[in-house]
């Protein structure tokens, strides 16, 4: 009792698409999956001919599929793009060192240039050392803030016109939920944007897989035999996202369209003018995009270097007090030294 492919190509269906409920054969699924990403790229004007685009590559399923599909579409539809891979080495032994091997495999398979930037060279700290300093809580804050900026720095060094990330539909629906649950209106406003940044001094980020379901990405990678890395980070997983994710997966079981529905809701939200909007500027210290002064990366880094790793965690006023206290202590100690030296 095999089910036939819905597109009446005469072949046997191999999967049920969660997005449409259609039963498709391998070839028709590949064609539909790729055509939808092409449609997203074209209808949202993500790229222009002649541009250089960095694919943010972690070695995981999403970025591996993204690199594969972008290369394919670039060739078949003649986008005229120069694609490069950009990876960040957070310095997590037993995790990132292994996944970077996958990225190197991508580089060889897809014949794309690869740039790897490490936290070590950018910030003087690896995640291993940061965790040794701060422990297993809040470490994801450091990693997330540093990675965001590291991608900007890498993109600048490469001189690219945009950064393509592998965020998929499930990721975006999860983020909408999380931002609603946290009342984070600033992020809620922009988290469904397919293109962010791109002002005078920022490099735009684009999400070509924004409407691609995770199940389809995994099935695509499986049927295309793409090699990807799938180990959980050795440091504590992001618990809050984990809850949102489990909730969403439960909903999806009952109603597969829920993922697209949540993204749609996020896209259609409008905010009152009285809702505060963060002003995007540039950090006076490091010169990279930020809506705070100094930027979060600089505050976190200062905390690490001062031996006050909690500095950038929690309220800014608390951090300011910590700095003031430390400065006072240092001043006192210096005065005491001066007094001693007077003798």
């Amino acid at each position: 009792m095999p089910i036939n492919c819905k597109s009446s190509c005469g072949k046997k269906a191999v999967l049920k698409r969660p997005k449409t409920g259609d039963a498709l054969c391998k070839e028709c699924f590949f064609a539909a999956f790729e055509a939808e990403i092409h449609h997203t790229i074209i209808s949202s004007n993500l790229f222009r001919r002649g541009e250089k685009v960095a694919v943010a590559a972690s070695g995981g399923k999403d970025s591996t599929v993204l690199a594969h599909v972008l290369k394919l579409l670039n060739e078949t539809h003649d986008y005229g793009l120069e694609l490069v891979l950009l990876s960040i080495d957070e310095g997590i032994t037993g995790y990132r060192d292994d996944s970077l091997e996958t990225v190197k495999q991508n580089r060889d398979d897809y014949q794309m240039a690869l740039k790897i930037l490490s936290y070590e060279e950018l910030y003087g700290w690896t995640m291993d050392r940061i965790v040794a300093q701060i422990g297993r809580s809040n470490n994801c804050t450091f990693c997330g803030v540093f990675r965001r900026q590291a991608l900007d720095r890498g993109a600048k060094q490469l001189g690219v016109d945009s950064i393509a990330t592998g965020h998929n539909a499930d990721d975006i629906a999860e983020t909408v939920l999380m931002n609603i649950l946290r009342g984070d209106t600033a992020r809620l406003r922009r988290c469904t944007d397919i293109k962010t940044g791109g002002g005078d001094d920022t490099i735009p980020r684009v999400k070509p897989l924004k409407y691609s379901y995770e199940k389809e990405i995994v099935m695509y990678a499986h049927y295309k035999k793409l090699v990807y890395f799938s180990t959980e980070c050795v440091f504590a997983p992001n618990a809050y996202r984990g809850h949102a994710r489990a909730f969403l997966k439960d909903l999806e079981k009952v109603r597969p369209s829920v993922i697209m529905d949540i993204i749609h809701s996020g896209e259609q939200l409008r905010f009152k003018d009285s809702v505060k909007k963060p002003v995007r500027g540039v950090c006076a210290r490091c010169g990279f995009v930020s809506s705070q002064q100094p930027c979060k990366a600089c505050v976190l880094l200062e905390g690490l270097n001062r031996g006050l790793p909690k500095l950038g965690i929690g309220k800014k006023s608390k951090g300011d007090r910590m700095i003031a206290n430390q400065d006072r202590e240092i001043a006192l100690r210096e005065r005491a030294n001066l007094v001693k030296n007077d003798f």
Binding site: K12, V14, S99, S230
Partner: protein
């Protein structure tokens, strides 16, 4: 292979193997005198080879949402899911989508 055995292959990938002693491929010989469905296979797996945190693999009497099941490389959603009756030499693959990104 005796006629009273049902031989099938199990495969785990993308992190699902971590819950099963980190073994990616297994050959099983099940009692061939009874009917085996995916539902009864999951029960058998829980009782015999699911070593690590069963709640990450099972939810109620089915697999946890986010774990894909392919039988002979076909999505189990096209095959009746839990009710599918296992045939000799079937290949059942579990892919986790819950790991990494």
């Amino acid at each position: 292979m005796s006629a009273k055995e049902l031989q099938i292959n199990l495969e785990f990938s993308a992190g699902a193997e971590l819950l099963f002693g980190n073994i990616k491929r297994r050959k099983l010989s099940l009692d061939g005198t009874v009917k085996w469905t995916v539902a009864s296979l999951l029960k058998w797996m829980h009782a015999n080879i699911l070593t690590e945190r069963p709640e990450l693999f099972l939810q109620g009497d089915t697999v946890r949402p986010g774990i894909l099941v392919l039988i002979n490389d076909t999505d189990w959603e096209l095959l009746g899911e839990l009710e599918y009756e296992l045939q000799p030499n079937d290949n059942v693959l579990f892919i986790s989508t819950l790991h990494g990104g």
